[in-house]
């Protein structure tokens, strides 16, 4: 029989974050990272799993209370399936519950993207860089992250008209902080793959490996498309709440555009 996270924490199953933290803090004094590395890792895995479970519960409660459609985008695996701790397997961090609250009111993606397009049409990526760095709305960390999938998606959609070059793509990836992990994320990987392939330049337009959707209404499809990642579940370390926050924001943008 395997040991559960609750056994490790010395706690009965609960979704009370405070109790979980208290139990972790208490157990930690017997399994310090410098003195008992193995015990510490097991305890910390159990703690992270328990916190994920608690936020999953909280999210479900909120979802059912609001009867919101957000429940459908619930991407967390069934917690009971992962209740058993198996420390020698590839560990996976519990997924934090998405926070679907809109970050900022009043941001309009349409004009933003239009102006971004003007900068790209100027050719030199430096114009785009300076414009992005000076853009007041981009100082909001939350808005900036929420925009990532939409920026690349809209750019892929308008690639033939804007003809972004490698420098533009590098500038955008640097500015929006697209690193090794985020680059492989299914919400943006198809768009960047398409942009890097420059497929719109080939006249007979052979169907690209990841064809872009016809319009905003197909965004769910883009988000839903999962390119199999190299050899492991892709959920490690992805800021899910940001991606989901982006989805929510896009819903608002789509509504505004109609």
């Amino acid at each position: 029989m395997s040991v559960t996270a609750w056994d490790v924490l010395g706690l009965a199953e609960t979704d009370d974050v405070r109790s979980i933290k208290r139990a972790y803090a208490k157990a930690l004094k017997q399994a310090r990272p410098d003195e008992d590395p193995a015990g510490f890792q097991q305890l910390t895995s159990a703690y992270e799993w328990a916190l994920g479970y608690a936020s999953h519960c909280a999210h479900e409660r909120a979802a059912s209370a609001a009867e919101s459609a957000a429940a459908e985008t619930e991407a967390t695996a069934s917690p009971s399936a992962r209740g058993d701790l198996q420390p020698h397997e590839t560990e996976e961090t519990a997924i934090a519950a998405p926070k679907s609250e809109a970050p900022q009111g009043g941001f309009d993606f349409g004009p933003f993207f239009e102006q971004m397009g003007e900068q790209i049409l100027k050719g030199n990526p430096l114009h785009l860089k300076e414009w992005l760095e000076a853009h007041p709305d981009m100082y909001s960390i939350e808005l900036k992250w929420a925009l990532i999938p939409h920026v690349f998606d809209a750019l892929a959609h308008n690639a033939a008209a804007l003809d972004p070059n490698r420098g533009h793509l590098a500038t955008l990836q640097t500015f929006f902080g697209v690193d090794a992990t985020l680059r492989a994320h299914p919400a943006i990987a198809p768009a960047i793959d398409f942009l890097e392939s420059k497929a719109w330049k080939q006249p007979p337009a052979p169907a690209p490996e990841a064809p872009m959707p016809a319009g905003w209404e197909n965004l769910d499809e883009v988000m839903g498309r999962r390119r199999p990642p190299p050899r492991q579940s892709e959920s490690q370390g992805i800021p899910w709440w940001l991606i989901l926050m982006g989805l929510f924001l896009l819903g608002r943008i789509a509504a505004a555009m109609h």
Binding site: K21, R22, Y24, A25, K26, L28, K29, R32, P33, D34, P37, F40, Q41, T44, T90, E91, A96, K99, E133, Y139, S140, I141, E142, K144, W145, G177, D179, A180, T181, R183, A184, E209, P230, R231, Q232, Q236, G237, P239, W241, L242
Partner: protein, 565 residues
């Protein structure tokens, strides 16, 4: 006794946790801040601290500072006919700090916890440890600077159930960390940073602006002129932290030059640097998953955190105020003392547990299948993602690319870029793989990263069970033990002035610096004061010397104030 050391780009401090609290030890001049500067005088004696910093102006060829920026590189500095690596220079600073500790404690400390920028790479951490060893002190543990500052601040303020964001802008590095404090646990959630962005870069931007304005090329300046311009730029930068404008004024190549700069101009001159502050703040917030609105405190530490531009940028990004400044120069040293006490299991900190993260991603190079038989090489595949709590152990499985392949080269990298060429190579492991069915050819790769920053790479061929192991981030600078010993002996052979004479040496260095910076009558005046002081020193009357030294320093202060105003 384990001491805590903050080995900074600009200043260094030492202290210990005594009677339940962090206590910093003063240097022979009575200051807890010792400038991280080294100079060799005419007799071949070593000067560390303020005297050495003053000698950057009067004796630029025999003095050096800001060498923390070169840690982890093999850059050599020539001083007094000898060549020094960055860790040698740091070792000399540590040695001087240990002298200060010994003067207070009565015994020489044998072990130290040294603080390093959270975003320091492993080569830089290794160099820091080596600096400790060269100074004959054991360094088993390094602590990340923002973690140290947050621990000192959070525990001092008795914060509980609180998220704290620390912005640490030092002389040469910028770190951002997000920590949570609850029930005696100090848990770092994320750290990000820029190892080459600090107060010095803003000074340099001002200096370059001055040179551009007057159409002067940096290479045409004499060493003393370059040092002087640097100090003037630094002074202007400090002035701009509290005033609306500042003036840089000095004589270069016989020309009297001056430049006025106001806040807005400074911001435009420093714009590229200010933009670089955004990256680590955004990354730390994103990695921690903590929303800015849920931060209980935003704490600013490091000397350069005094720049209002940093507060403004942080307030703009995080959408909130206030930002809290805590003894910006001492917070990290206090935290290093606490970390030393934690390591020594001091009873006062019995209930405290500190957990930190590895701020860099660690992984291997892979080849990706693009479909239709095409492959693309050189991709970075992280095994331990950045900002995992350490110690941590993770594994992934890999397969040989080609059916006929009998060997795979596992190349290990650190970094965040999608292509391995943009990341830092840590080493390679060659593994023999069997031929046959795909599942038989699987190699399990496990990365284990401990709290001291040592990465262990284990690769096991699943079918044969053969294990390969690679230990990284240990001392592999190419120095053999014998070479290290002789290096240590060489550094130890550098003579220093007796402790009670050091205030006099520092006073003379100060006077010589002012002499180099001034002209005409003032020079004659300083020269007279120096001659008088030398005469008093000759009497060896301690009370008289002390009295004269104080008068000399007062006079020099007055002169300096007049010269700069």
């Amino acid at each position: 006794m384990i001491v805590g050391i903050d080995l900074g780009t600009t200043h260094s401090l030492i202290g210990a946790f005594l009677d339940g609290k962090a206590t910093l030890f003063p240097n022979p001049l009575g200051d807890v801040l010792t400038p991280s500067a080294i100079s060799i005088d005419e007799d071949g004696r070593l000067l560390v601290g303020r005297a050495a910093r003053d000698r950057l102006i009067s004796h630029p060829d025999a003095s050096v500072a800001s060498f923390k920026r070169w840690m982890g590189s093999s850059r050599e500095t020539k001083l007094g006919g000898r060549s020094y690596r960055p860790e040698d220079l740091s070792a000399l600073v540590i040695r001087s700090l240990l002298d200060d500790a010994q003067a207070v404690l009565g015994t020489r400390p044998t072990e130290a916890v040294i603080s390093v920028p959270a975003y320091f790479s492993d080569a830089q951490r290794r160099a820091t440890r080596r600096a400790g060893e060269l100074a004959a002190v054991r360094v088993d543990r390094l602590i990340n600077e923002p973690t140290a500052a947050a621990m000192a601040y959070g525990l001092g303020e008795q914060l509980n159930e609180a998220y704290v964001l620390v912005l640490d802008l030092g002389g040469g590095t910028f770190d951002v960390s997000i920590l949570e404090l609850f029930d005696g646990v100090v848990k770092v959630h994320a750290s990000a940073g820029d190892n080459f962005l600090g107060g010095d870069d803003f000074t340099q931007a001002l200096r370059d602006h001055f040179l551009r304005t007057h159409r002067i090329r940096q290479e045409t300046l004499k060493p003393a002129e370059a040092s002087l311009l640097w100090l003037r730029a630094e002074h202007a930068k400090h002035a701009l932290s509290v005033e609306r404008s500042a003036r840089i004024q000095l004589t270069l190549g016989g020309r009297d030059l001056s430049m006025d700069i106001d806040e807005a101009q400074f911001e435009s001159v420093a714009a590229p640097l200010l933009q670089r502050l955004r990256v680590p703040i955004e990354r730390a917030i994103r990695d921690s998953g903590v929303r800015p609105a849920n931060l209980a405190e935003i704490v600013m530490v490091g000397g350069a955190a005094r720049m209002p531009q940093l507060s403004r940028m942080a307030a703009r990004l995080l959408g909130r105020l206030p930002l809290r400044h805590v003894a910006p120069d001492e917070a990290i040293a206090h935290g290093a003392c606490m970390a030393a006490a934690l390591k020594a299991r001091d009873v006062a900190l019995e209930e405290i547990v500190l957990t930190d993260v590895c701020p860099h991603s660690l992984g291997v190079e892979v080849s990706r299948d693009l479909g239709n038989g095409q492959r693309s090489d050189g991709h970075f595949d992280p095994i331990i993602e950045r900002n995992r709590t350490v110690p941590v152990s993770r594994s992934r499985e890999y397969y040989p690319v080609h059916a006929q392949q009998t060997k795979v080269s596992l190349r290990v990298f650190q970094g965040e870029n999608t292509k391995v060429t943009d990341n830092i190579s840590l080493g390679t492991l060659e593994i023999a793989v069997p031929t046959g069915a795909t599942e038989d050819r699987c190699v399990d790769v496990r990365f284990t990263y401990d709290i001291n920053g040592v990465l262990q790479v284990e690769a096991t061929v699943r079918k044969t069970g053969i294990r390969h192991e690679l230990l990284l981030m240990q001392d592999d600078n190419g120095l053999s033990e014998a070479e290290a010993k002789s290096r240590m002996a060489e550094l130890a052979s550098l003579k220093v002035h007796p402790r009670d004479e050091q205030p006099n040496i520092a006073a003379i260095a100060r006077a010589e610096r002012l002499y180099a910076e001034s002209l005409g009558d003032q020079r004659t005046h300083i020269q007279q004061m120096l001659v008088q002081f030398q005469a008093v020193l000759g009497t060896q009357d301690l009370a008289l010397v002390t009295q004269h030294r104080e008068k000399l320093l007062e006079a020099l202060d007055a002169l300096a104030a007049g010269a700069i105003a």
